[in-house]
Symmetry: C2
Subunit: 113 residues, 2 copies
Amino acid sequence: MTVVQAMLTGMELHHPETSEIELPAVLHALSDPHRLEIVRRLAEDSEPRACGSLDFGVTKSTMTHHYRTLRETGVIRQERRGTTKLTWLRRDDLDARFPGLLEAVLASKPVPA
Amino acid sequence: MTVVQAMLTGMELHHPETSEIELPAVLHALSDPHRLEIVRRLAEDSEPRACGSLDFGVTKSTMTHHYRTLRETGVIRQERRGTTKLTWLRRDDLDARFPGLLEAVLASKPVPA
């Protein structure tokens, strides 16, 4: 591990507490077709997913922006592992805060991003 | 009724068909605290509400923008009556397109706008 990697590993990624997750912010995070698709894919996974394993034909920086938006609004959790990040959907936290919301969103038919 | 009023009455307000209502657009429309509060208030009403009957301490043009966003994404229906507009929540249409979504959104605790 390089010094930079070690520093990155040590940097803590911001996640709101469950009680801090707010509805307007979550709705905004989910209002982008690409972010909605990320959430759909994560919802299908039983294991955390490595960042970069989803490809929507957009730039890496755009994907990073989408992941950050989802993380900072409390929709996903990310953890650094060496040079990659592992990503989970915060399904239990979202269900606790907004019962039925995620289920309704996931049940709706996807539209082309 | 003046000529201008008559013209305004004749102008048709755009509403998407039920099948054209898209999830990302609806989530975006609901992601603003003021728009979310408009939807909450409309959900409480059994009768259509006149525009201008809600006051959140924002400018009239901001409120007009919020109503237009809600209307053009299919969340509300508006109809001109003389110099005012009557507004309804498109609850049945939203329930048909995204079962459970509106219910989950309305069930969540409001946050200060």
